[in-house]
Symmetry: C2
Subunit: 168 residues, 2 copies
């Protein structure tokens, strides 16, 4: 087995692309879910570690292209969806996936406002399955924002890049 | 346990949104992969059946919003990526996920041309994991196009809707 080649210039974190997501996560969870979050320092994800058990995926297109994944521990997802919806939601019901997707949508939507007027976001997909791995194209760096709440952990994985436009 | 309520008006398939994907799948696999595909009749997906083992997800935004998932049996993915890349690709390498994402990207991109000028597609996410379930918002019907090749099966799941614009 040959070791895989090391990347000569490791990608760096562009705060202009990440801070809007950090702020949006804090805002959405404080105002819409009513659960306070603490965040660890964002870091570049270099491995193919599995996501948590329940992931909402939003695609970006337009001036900012890429994807954002909000991935929850299963127990955290259940508690956070309950806090968001105001009642317990059966994890096997469509309402549960809709709620997870809506959380991802609000986080992406909140960040989008600070990322440029011509960024569009897709409707969310939600992946459910223990140990699933979500990859993105290898030419777009992935920044993980690890998040903790009193009911469990989740992570926001941001893989977006800004297209060069006039005036940028 | 109460049975879930039946939907009063089941969604119907809009050929204007689905035919571009059928044609694009056929075109991409014939020209870029060199493997012919046969397709079963598209059908509305009403259950939460798991996707296959390897799925590429593309988000649509703009005039057409939604997501498209191209989901492969693991063995089919390996063979089709090999045919596409012209050599065997380690399923654990970033190149494998990139190739699956690129197949999804070409299918979505080919369909996009016939869906309206102002439709944008996101870069692909690829989900790897046996038995993962991908859900979409429950208000957007999902149409499954079952596809067979000589090396295995895959499915294209189209969950898009066209926004009403002037002249539509």
């Amino acid at each position: 087995m040959q070791p895989s080649q090391a990347t000569p210039t490791p990608p760096t974190i562009n705060p202009k692309l990440i801070v809007p997501f950090v702020n949006s996560v804090r805002n959405v969870f404080a105002t819409m879910v009513g659960v306070s979050t603490t965040m660890d320092r964002p870091r570049i994800k270099t491995d193919r570690a599995p996501a948590y058990d329940v992931s909402g995926i939003i695609g970006f297109s337009g001036d900012v292209i890429g994807t954002v994944v909000v991935s929850f521990q299963k127990c955290a997802a259940a508690k956070l969806v309950e806090a968001f919806a105001g009642m317990a939601v059966d994890p096997d019901s469509p309402d549960f996936a809709d709620a997870v997707g809506e959380l991802a949508n609000m986080i992406a939507g909140g960040a989008k406002q600070h990322l440029g007027n011509a960024a569009d976001i897709s409707i969310p997909s939600v992946v459910i399955g223990q140990g699933h791995v979500i990859t993105r194209p290898s030419d777009v760096p992935c920044v993980v924002i690890p998040c903790k709440t009193e009911v469990g952990d989740f992570a926001v994985e941001v893989s977006v890049k800004q297209l060069q436009t006039a005036g940028t």
